[in-house]
């Protein structure tokens, strides 16, 4: 292995790419060649480091300096200062207060990184980087020192629960699969991360694929499987190619394939791609999809642990679950269980999104309060607005209002508050959000993604969507709320799979906490948050309007009239309430009445 005195890791996640990460890499390479430092400094591409909003960003090791906002023009100066003279360039350093999720550069105090420990730190396309961070040591320990029963026992003791959302104890699942009769067994990794706003699994797969692969090999050893599949959604082409590279590298080193590390244990892995069906995140649908069929769920039991892929016992876990395993084996179950609450151990990754100052990926110990996440880690609500609700758990989750901000984050308390842990999407909504519209948005999603196999979900979600659309259009009727409640109850009890059973959650939770908004829509024909188009009217304030014509030029339906330098007027009959005028106005002259 060639020795470099310094490594530069440039983040190439979508946001940084857009801001010119590739151009930055090229400029760095050119400058290093020009200054003759190319043999001393290595430039690598990595996944998110944590400051993408200020990107493009890069980390310089061994110093651990985090630079952001470096343009190709700045590169000659930066290279001269940092790599020739050895001085840190302060003006490009990440401002510590802005850091959301970087372990090395002053992370927020509340975070603990287990799953994300290597993300942004290692080159995901180089297995040696992973091995240097104690990678595959857990596998070696398992294969040489532990029996499958001991492995399962360790996982049981750690208290790790399925990170895909439902929170079933992972050790128990492994035990069931091990005990299920049959010679051929499979392990499957669910990387079909379909919840809108959730990208934790993508980051792990793109930033630290070997941790998932190692976790899967250990699982395979524990349950007695020799073939595994990673089912990755087609929306993540980078993750798929990173995984394929990682698998090939592991094979080359004898960590996958026949007789792994000389232990006599055989296991191989294959990546299978989804094709854009949300329901395939449900384990029985996922199995059907790997088998090459329509991704429709089937009733459970029999559970996949007994009858899964090609009717053989199959262990299905989420990306994050597998990524935890190597650390649990290496550092011991007691260490892992020291994080979290009595029933929910360890850490959980969340994708913070929405109206927050600092959005991004975080990993926190379970039991942390929502307030700590939103205000301490996420930096509070954007533009000084008020917090309204946080939507947790994706389309099957619910909205949690301000009175639950001190709720400890674990599987049980979230269920109590009417939502689920889910895979880890967390969308923070400010006061300008209409909760009926949010419920309608999620119902539009589930209705579209319902696979159509069972009637309660197929027809029920559509009926709910129709009612919600009606309410948002100002045509809500007396009795709609009761009808919604009734429908939600029926769909929840009678649907076949988790998608249908969870589909009413956004409606149920918003009805529970924001019933007054529904009532305002239905009985007063008023949208309190001023979002629903049919219930609002745009107007131009004569005092603020300068007659710049920008609104009139941008109006898609020509509803705005007025001479240059004269006050403009919106014709309410032509206006489609698209809000473009409000967005383009430079003088805040457009208001909603």
């Amino acid at each position: 292995m060639k020795y470099y005195r310094s490594h530069v890791l440039v983040c190439v996640d979508p946001e940084c790419l857009q801001k010119g990460a590739h151009e930055l890499v090229d400029a760095l390479q050119d400058e290093l060649v020009a200054t003759g430092l190319i043999d001393e400094v290595q430039v690598l591409e990595t996944s998110r480091i944590g400051g993408c909003s200020l990107g493009p960003e890069m980390m310089v090791y061994p110093e651990g300096v985090h630079y952001v906002g470096v343009t190709p023009d700045d590169v000659p100066y930066l290279v001269e200062e940092h790599f020739l003279k050895g001085r840190v360039v302060n003006k490009f350093q990440m401002p510590t207060t802005k850091i959301v999720d970087e372990e090395l550069g002053a992370p927020t105090q509340k975070e603990v990184r287990i799953v994300l420990r290597n993300c942004g730190k290692i080159d995901p396309e180089n297995i040696e980087d992973y091995i240097a961070e104690d990678g595959y040591q857990a596998l070696a320990k398992v294969l040489t020192e532990m029996t499958p029963e001991e492995v399962i026992d360790t996982v049981l003791k750690s208290g790790l629960r399925g990170r895909g959302g439902a929170g079933f104890p992972t050790g128990k699942k492994w035990q069931f699969t091990r005990q299920a009769p049959g010679e051929i067994k499979y392990v499957v990794c669910n990387a079909d991360e379909g919840d809108p706003g959730a990208f934790m699994n993508r980051r792990v797969l793109e930033g630290d694929p070997h941790s998932v692969i190692e976790g899967m090999i250990i699982a395979a050893y524990a349950i007695g499987a020799h073939q595994g599949y990673i089912y990755c959604r087609a929306e993540y082409p980078v993750a798929v190619s990173t995984l394929n590279i990682a698998i090939q590298q592991a094979r080359n080193l004898g960590l996958l394939g026949k007789d792994i590390l000389g232990s006599g244990f055989d296991f191989d892995l294959e990546v299978r791609m989804g094709a854009g069906a949300f329901v395939c995140g449900e384990e029985t649908a996922l199995i059907a999809s790997i088998e090459g069929r329509r991704g429709e769920p089937r009733p459970r039991p029999p559970f996949p642990a007994v009858q899964g892929l090609w009717n053989k016992p199959t262990n299905v876990n989420n990306v994050e679950t597998y990524a935890n395993i190597p650390q649990i084996i290496l550092k011991g179950p007691e260490w892992y269980a020291s994080y979290g609450t009595e029933k929910s151990k360890g850490t959980k990754t969340f994708a913070l999104a929405g109206d927050l100052n600092h959005t991004g990926l975080i990993e926190v110990p379970l039991g942390i309060s929502l307030r700590e996440i939103i205000y301490d880690v996420g930096g509070g609500i954007k533009d000084g607005k008020a917090f309204k609700a946080v939507q947790i758990g994706g389309p099957m989750g619910g909205c949690v209002p301000a009175e639950y901000l001190d709720l400890p984050l674990d599987y049980e308390s979230l269920a109590q508050a009417g939502t689920i842990m889910g895979s880890g999407g967390m969308i923070v909504l400010d006061e300008d959000t209409c909760m009926v519209d949010v419920a309608r948005y999620f119902m539009d999603f589930t209705q579209d993604e319902s696979c159509g196999k069972c009637t309660p979900c197929r027809v029920g979600t559509r009926r709910i969507l129709e009612i919600l659309t009606r309410i948002c259009d100002g045509k809500g009727q007396d009795g709609d709320i009761e009808l919604l409640e009734n429908l939600c109850q029926e769909i929840r009890t009678n649907s076949l799979c988790g998608l249908g059973q969870g589909a009413p959650n956004p409606v149920v939770s918003t009805l529970r906490y924001f019933r007054d908004e529904y009532e305002a829509h239905i009985y007063e024909k008023r949208c309190p948050a001023k979002v629903c188009r049919a219930l609002i009217r745009y107007e131009i304030l004569p005092d603020a309007c300068t007659g710049c014509t920008v609104c009139a030029r941008n109006c898609p339906v020509n509803a705005i009239s007025g001479e240059r330098r004269q006050t403009h007027v919106i014709d309410p009959d032509t206006c489609i309430r698209c809000g473009i005028c409000m967005q383009v106005c430079n003088f805040n002259a457009v208001v909603i009445e």
Partner: protein
């Protein structure tokens, strides 16, 4: 016996020797994989761009599965399309953050500029509009994906610029 197999239209990829060769290669490479249907269709979709009716029939024959189950798979997953798409695709992310961040207004703007709805292709065959699920770039909402490139924080008044970039690349 009645021949129920549809004849292959002249403009079908199967009628084009080069594309036929590619299709055969994909089938040959994957036909022995367990659960080959999805793998083959995924590869056909990304290499050929769509999966025509004749191609579905062909795949079914080669993999020895009923054409109904191939069609079932094609029609189930949103990534598979049965008609050719435009040279460029603009995908509007409908993730929560983008939706709340003003995606409906952006789509309105695109519709009025191009005269087609999401899911349709402009008459000149240049641009296909699509609505897609979250692309995982929520911090830059609202986001559109132009071919493979992510354009973030896009306001409706900046949309014409996006179209111009596509046209510039063409020249």
């Amino acid at each position: 016996m009645l021949n129920t197999k549809p004849s292959i239209p002249a403009n079908d990829p199967l009628a084009n020797p080069e594309q036929k060769k590619l299709i055969d290669e994909i089938l040959e490479k994957n036909k022995n994989l367990p659960g080959a249907t999805m793998v083959v269709l995924n590869e056909l979709q990304s290499r050929i761009g769509f999966i025509s009716e004749a191609m579905q029939q062909y795949v079914a024959d080669k993999l020895h599965v009923p054409v109904s189950s191939v069609h079932g798979v094609v029609s189930f997953y949103s990534f598979f399309t049965t008609t050719p798409r435009g040279k460029h695709t603009i995908k509007f992310c409908m993730g929560t953050a983008c939706y709340v961040g003003g995606m409906p207004q952006l789509i309105d703007k695109a519709k009025s500029l191009l005269g087609v709805e999401p899911g349709q292709t402009t008459p000149d065959g240049e641009i296909t509009l699509e609505v897609c699920r979250c692309v995982g770039a929520c911090s830059q909402a609202p986001v559109v994906v132009v071919d493979d490139k992510i354009v973030g924080r896009l306001r409706p008044n900046k949309f014409p610029q996006v179209l111009r970039t596509i046209q510039d690349n063409k020249q």
